[in-house]
Symmetry: C2
Subunit: 341 residues, 2 copies
């Protein structure tokens, strides 16, 4: 029921040592005798004493806190967050906690001046960036962060990423390749591609490159009539699927650049009276929770969320420590469910 918070001076008094000795003992300094250290730790524990993080941070100039910034396409519904990023959150949080760091989270709109706020106010030692709306608008801000010497890591590996600092991302080319090869192995030959292939969406572009490469291996080319733009939500998938259906071209499979888009496509196909997978096989990307729960369950390319969280946090801590950190590609994994036959 202690109303007064104890300080290291109080603990020092109780232990019969000086305050600096308490500080050293708590931080595990080698220059405190084992016996003294144990006594101090016991007393601290008994009185629920914990170092004041602000005093400590002020003195050391390190906050032991990482900031996780989500960027979202602006939507009306604040609560609509890309489910894939949400999965990453759990993984990142644990990775940070395991390494003794707190995690501050924030949702940012594209236009805010986030590039300054976290670092300048010392709330966080570094920044993890997730999602970026349109990459072409985003890139200049990354360059500024880099110029400012703010430690950050980016999720998703755009082409030319060397110029934008350290990035960790899935091997999207490989992922796209695996998805389309799987459909080809199942005997499908006319594979529609749903997703935005543009500089604004470098990750989707990479998935498309993998898709095209897999087709080429079977001497198949890209047919513009089998492609439709889609960027993020389920509705985008519906719109894209309807566009292709309206063209009257034949197709027996769909590769969508995200699960949300794939789910939209499946719903549109089913409403049009087509059976999935009998008439049209569908493969998505991400392996969000809804993928396994749909009817039929969705075959998809899973990103390795667990490894991603750890890799992001470790890369960021290394950068904070002043090390050079190479960008890194993480392998993806095909998860076969019923939607692909």
């Amino acid at each position: 029921m202690a109303k007064e918070r104890l300080t290291s001076f109080d603990i020092a008094y109780l232990a019969g040592v000086s305050q600096p000795t308490v500080s050293r003992a708590l931080r595990g300094s080698a220059s405190v005798s084992e016996q003294t250290r144990k006594r101090i730790l016991a007393i601290a524990k008994q009185h629920n004493y914990t170092v004041d993080r602000h005093a400590s941070s002020l003195r050391t100039q390190r906050s032991n806190t990482l900031a996780l910034l989500f960027f979202e396409d602006p939507t009306d519904d604040d609560t609509m967050i890309n489910p894939f990023f949400l999965a990453m959150l759990g993984s990142i949080t644990r990775a940070a906690a395991d390494r003794g760091h707190d995690l501050l989270i924030s949702f940012q709109s594209q236009d805010s001046d986030w590039h300054a706020a976290y670092r300048d106010s010392r709330r966080a030692d570094g920044i993890i960036l997730l999602g970026y709306g349109d990459y072409t608008e985003y890139a200049p801000k990354l360059a500024r962060l880099e110029a400012q010497d703010t430690p950050f890591v980016l999720w998703g590996l755009p082409p030319g990423h060397e110029a934008v600092g350290t990035a960790i991302g899935s091997d999207n080319v490989q992922g796209g390749h695996v998805a389309t090869r799987h459909l080809l192995e199942r005997g499908r030959r006319r594979i529609a591609f749903l997703g935005s292939v543009s500089a604004g969406c470098p990750e989707f572009q990479a998935r498309f490159d993998g898709h095209a490469a897999a087709l080429a291996e079977h001497d198949l080319g890209i047919e513009p009539a089998l492609m439709a733009d889609a960027r993020s939500i389920e509705e985008d998938g519906r719109v894209a699927m309807r566009a292709i259906l309206s063209r009257g071209v034949a197709f027996d499979a769909v590769f969508a650049v995200s699960d949300l888009i794939a789910l939209g496509a499946i719903h549109t196909l089913q409403e049009a009276g087509l059976r999935v997978p009998e008439d049209v096989a569908v493969v998505g990307f991400d392996d969000i929770p809804s993928a396994a729960l749909g009817s039929p369950p969705l075959t998809t390319v899973a990103q390795d969320v667990r490894t991603a969280g750890t890799a992001l946090v470790e890369a960021l801590l290394a950068r904070i420590a002043g090390q050079k950190v190479e960008s890194r590609l993480l392998p993806t994994r095909l998860v076969v469910r019923k939607s692909s036959g």
Copy 2:
């Protein structure tokens, strides 16, 4: 490319005033002339100066940070987070940001001594608690937090919540009532109930109470053969549904205490050759993203995530400010989709 971080002394020098005046100007103190304030703000902005949060917090003893603690049933997969809580996260983050507070997030296991850590280390001014595994084990910890005078708010309103401090929760009795009434209005009379009705799950218990009340209004009673235990994940829903099917009792509807459980039930029903909603109508609870994306889309009781986030943050800030805050029930809303016919 300023490598040296500026302090309020630097800004003071540049503005030709004393350092305290800079501090006052930045905090909008009334005792700084309008002209001086504008000049100081301009200079601060120009030099990207931001107040050092640690120095400020050390001095004021306020961190302007809230901690969001998730409690999860222990699972192997760290990334499996209840999708409903994830939706709350977005809402809480924005509510905190709107009120000038950062949000620290952390996943806790049931047994950690979280009740001390955040407050004692001054990292956060208060705590928002989400999820609690088994409530009977959890309640004593809440009592301890309360005794320690740590400001906190709890999501979910257990019976007797007055004793555990401030809680904000959905009106689960009303929600359960609305769900079952809806099924009754659609002409269903034999309604299975999937969910754990026990002291460990007070929210599910409340949903059951609403369910029972709705039945009673139609002169229907509870049939134990139509009830089965289920706690959280989709697989729990499958197991519960199979249990009821195996009993060979007739039923034409299912009310599940969560969407995840409802989705598991639907899958099991469909695998057993039953049609949803023709043979069995299904209603869930939460309105997670997967609910709308399934086949058929799930009728469910939506919790008001937006209001919940705001209410939690405001209640917590009021408690931090030393005010008494009443616990509060939020209304739920039935979202009718295809699964209920």
